[in-house]
């Protein structure tokens, strides 16, 4: 990516559209490839600008709504010295035609070849997309291993939740960004702009300079030391390269009202509505939840900014539905006022009913009341996530919802006209017994029974996923359940719901859970496995029609790696974890204590309204929770409004005793 190479390689910058257009009649869903979205930025290709291609390594329908990618796309395009396009993984039918016709990965804005950009920036939200990451790099005409890239090859940069353990993909990427990307993308652009204007072709020098930026990890600047299967350490190769890389955190969301022009696709995508992020972070402390741990602390957007973003976004896009996104939107401190304000603003426009949706509901009647208030237009089913079937199990995972909470929520929903509920659960959790597993079926049956009082058509979908322990959670030391154990638990649930009329059981394939487990907590040696799976055609592993566990098992065997070692064994307190050189803001001893508390079935209430547990997320960064209200929302930080009934009390361990 030297400027000279780009200028002389001008032919590369030409659009692939004429060639692509001839192929589109032969593929499924050609609208995936034409671009043309409302809100897109179409800054023309210009060698004077630092150019980013933001790539989502899955289909257009899944990738387009991704808010992180849209935010960074706008931030780069707003810079006078930068421009950004977007690309998505082509489906297998088009990929075949592209390879046969020598068409590289292209941007949807100008259909410019991917290798003409300075940066290929990937959003990694799911481990099973790793083989698609390699495929996209390869389709771009760029060597898949970073050590094979030279002068005019683009930099491959990754961000997103998966990058909290980037070691399995460390050999394929040049740069990893940890945490919120809003600030680092600008800093990286500055460094690249300086590099390009210097006329240098010293790629290693550029990478070394980038490694000095906060929150930026350059895997090639580190040596990995092993002792047999055991990881000994990951050490910087140079004195100026940091030994620990700390995640980046935007301290005030009010400074970042993005996306300002949310993309409005021409064809149907998975979240086809306006999205406005109301806060980032979560302090409920669910112990299985990586997102909740790594995004701390809570940073709320000011209520008036939310209203403005919603009103302007609806006006511009014509959407009749807005989602207020966050990890737990009903916990937003001003949620009722914000929702009422949004509905009033919409009523003033007179262009039809507006639906406000929340990505997941709080499990109590308060959550349902909000849902009833906001779903004036189209009503969808309601979704709750109790996550576990018994109170004991929910204490272990720190999802402190009582059965009364759930049943009052379900009752409120059926009584207000909903006929379908969806309940999300995990199985394969630490210390889970068959009683806990069967509790899932019990909850499902009881919900349908409540619904029958209101409608004969009451039904409840019980959706069960296999638990995959993730880095930077208290469960990072836990040995994942085997495929056969997960299958046995699913079979228990199948038997228990077979005759339960109205209960629809759905489950995630335990084989895919294993593949996710292999990649989630692996070290750098997993790179050979991912490349092997990809070279044998294993793309789109998130898709059941393409997922193939045998590819993964074979690749592990060929690499001489043990599933038992990487997935099934419990890790020990003293062992070096592959992400120990990264800092997600959480003290390792906080996580370990929380893991021990879990095994003792001790719950830990939300720290927004209780004393600090010193997890590290605030104190280490000199920032605080940004909440508009110092008191918990109606209903308390968890559960039912009003004083707790006897017998449902949460065992509290005081933060001060720590």
């Amino acid at each position: 990516m030297t400027r000279a190479a780009q200028v002389t390689g001008g032919g590369d910058r030409a659009t692939v559209w004429p060639a692509l257009e001839r192929l589109l009649p032969q593929v499924q869903k050609p609208a995936r490839y034409i671009g043309g979205e409302g809100g897109r930025c179409a800054k023309a290709p210009d060698p004077a600008l630092v150019s980013w291609l933001f790539v989502y390594p899955d289909t257009y329908e899944i990738g387009l709504p991704n808010q992180g990618l849209q935010i960074l796309y706008e931030i780069i395009n707003e810079r006078p010295d930068g421009r950004a396009d977007r690309a998505y993984a082509p489906w297998t039918d088009l990929e075949k035609l592209m390879r046969a016709n020598n068409i590289p990965l292209f941007s949807v804005e100008h259909h410019t070849p991917a290798h003409a950009f300075d940066v290929l920036a990937f959003n990694l939200s799911a481990e099973l997309t790793y083989t698609n990451l390699l495929n996209c790099i390869d389709l771009a005409g760029v060597p898949v291993r970073s050590r094979d890239r030279y002068g005019d090859d683009p930099l491959v940069i990754v961000g997103g939740h998966c990058t909290y353990n980037p070691e399995p993909i460390a050999d394929f990427v040049d740069v990893v960004v940890l945490g919120d990307g809003e600030e680092p993308v600008g800093e990286i652009t500055d460094v690249i702009a300086g590099f390009l204007s210097s006329g240098s072709s010293d790629r290693t020098g550029l990478l070394r300079e980038l490694s000095q930026l906060d929150g930026v990890y350059v895997p090639s600047m580190y040596n990995v030391v092993y002792d047999g299967p055991r990881l000994v350490g990951i050490e910087p190769r140079f004195p100026d390269v940091p030994g620990v890389i700390r995640k980046r955190t935007v301290s005030d969301l009010a400074d970042w009202p993005y996306p300002k022009n949310q993309l409005v696709p021409l064809t149907e995508v998975v979240h086809d509505r306006l999205s406005v992020e109301v806060f980032r972070g979560c302090t409920r402390g669910c112990r299985f939840c990586q997102a909740g741990m790594i995004t701390r602390p809570v940073r709320e957007r000011p209520a008036d900014q939310i209203r403005t973003m919603v009103a302007e976004g609806l006006q511009r896009s014509g959407y009749d539905e807005v989602t207020l996104t966050s990890l737990s939107t009903a916990d937003f401190s001003g949620v009722e006022d914000v929702v009422t304000g949004i509905m009033n603003d919409a009523d003033g426009c007179g262009v039809g009913p507006l639906s406000v949706s929340l990505p997941s509901l709080r499990v109590d009647a308060f959550g349902v009341d909000i849902a009833a208030q906001i779903q004036r237009g189209r009503r969808t089913g309601l979704t709750f996530a109790p996550e576990a079937g018994t109170w004991r199990m929910r204490q272990v995972i720190n999802k402190l919802i009582s059965e009364d909470d759930l049943y009052s929520a379900v009752e409120a929903a059926y009584s207000q006209g909903w006929k379908r509920m969806k309940l999300y659960f995990l199985t394969g959790l630490p210390s889970e017994t068959d009683e806990d597993t069967l509790g899932i079926a019990e909850l499902g049956r009881n919900c349908v029974e409540i619904g029958r009082r209101y409608t004969n058509r009451a039904s409840t979908t019980v959706s069960v996923g296999g638990f995959v322990p993730k880095p930077f959670t208290p469960f990072q030391w836990f040995g994942q359940n085997t495929v056969s154990e997960l299958q046995r638990k699913i079979n228990l649930l199948k038997d228990a719901t077979r005759r339960a009329h109205g209960v629809n059981l759905k489950w995630h394939d335990p084989k895919a859970t294993l593949a996710e487990g292999i990649t989630a907590r692996g070290d750098r040696r997993l790179g050979a496995v991912i490349e092997d799976v990809w070279r044998r055609g294993g793309t789109f592993q998130e898709w059941s029609e393409h997922f193939d566990l045998d590819l993964w098992l074979g690749a592990m065997e060929r690499a001489g790696l043990s599933i038992e070692w990487y997935v099934y064994r419990h890790r020990t307190e003293d062992e070096v974890l592959p992400w120990d050189h990264l800092d997600a803001g959480l003290h390792k001893d906080f996580l370990w204590t929380d893991w021990m508390d879990a095994l003792e079935e001790v719950g830990l209430p939300d720290c927004r309204w209780t004393p600090c547990y010193d997890c590290g997320a605030c104190t280490g960064y000199g920032i605080e929770h940004v909440v508009a209200s110092a008191s918990p929302p109606a209903g308390g930080s968890q559960g039912t409004p009003g004083p707790r009934r006897p017998g449902t009390g949460i065992p509290v361990r005081l933060g001060a005793s720590r």
Binding site: I34, S317, G352
Partner: protein, 249 residues
């Protein structure tokens, strides 16, 4: 008030589906501040009805939709306002109020004119194929409907076929194809023109309704006063088409 709108779909946006077009118009109407009427019920839906579907990949100068509005709209300004709210390649050309009793678009359209690009055949070869095809009194076409093979005589749907000259990559065929009773799609026409023929671009130029035995453009049909119309050629009384049409009124 019901309003009928004519719009075009050209360029790369031809690759989006009929459903996609519907969603885009719902959004564009809201963004343009048009108060669309909604259905009643648990899940209110905007009252917009589209005419014949246009297959993915085909362009058109003559697509139609009917929309019921809850408040008066300035019909003169409507095409410009909607076009401004629509993505590149979709443009509203005209709008007119729909007189009470007008047949729905689905019921009223009897045929469409097409400009079809045929690849892989010379102009002369295409002309020979077309002449030969039209000489047949019956043209049997196999179709798969819901997994079942059926054979249909599509000859009555071929109202006219004329070779009109070369395009950049092939030969242009002007076709008028019935959408009433017996129907046929442009890609099916190509399949009848011999082994080698391939479909290039296809563009719908016009859609027609019938009134007083005359072809009438759907906006003109919407503007007609009902008591003088619906003399559509319905076939013998009691035939399926006549019953459908009667039910529609």
């Amino acid at each position: 008030m019901r309003v009928r709108v004519r719009f075009s779909k050209n360029g790369p946006i031809r690759f989006i589906s009929h459903r996609d077009v519907a969603r885009i118009f719902e959004r564009a109407l809201r963004a343009a501040g048009v108060a669309v009427a909604y259905s009643e019920g648990f899940s209110p839906r905007p009252r917009i009805s589209f005419g014949l579907a246009l297959s993915v990949g085909f362009e058109s100068d003559a697509e139609y939709l009917d929309v019921v509005v809850a408040a008066p709209v300035d019909l003169e300004a409507l095409p410009g306002r909607l076009t401004a709210a629509l993505p590149d390649g979709l443009a509203v050309e005209a709008a007119t109020p729909v007189a009470p009793g007008t047949l729905s678009l689905q019921q009223a359209i009897v045929c469409c004119e097409w400009e079809i690009e045929v690849l892989n055949l010379t102009e002369a070869a295409l002309a020979r194929s077309v002449t030969a095809l039209l000489e047949h009194r019956h043209v049997m076409l196999e179709r798969e409907r819901k997994g079942k093979q059926t054979t249909v005589d599509v000859r009555p749907a071929l109202l006219s076929l004329n070779v009109t000259g070369p395009t950049a990559d092939g030969v242009r065929l002007a076709a008028t194809l019935s959408t009433d009773l017996v129907t046929i799609r442009p890609d099916e026409v190509i399949s009848l023109l011999g082994h080698d023929a391939r479909l290039g671009r296809a563009r719908r130029l016009k859609q027609w309704t019938m009134a007083d035995g005359q072809r009438l453009e759907p906006l003109a049909a919407a503007a007609l006063r009902r008591e003088t119309t619906h003399v559509r050629d319905l076939g013998p009384p009691g035939s399926p088409a006549a019953q459908t049409a009667a039910a529609g009124r």
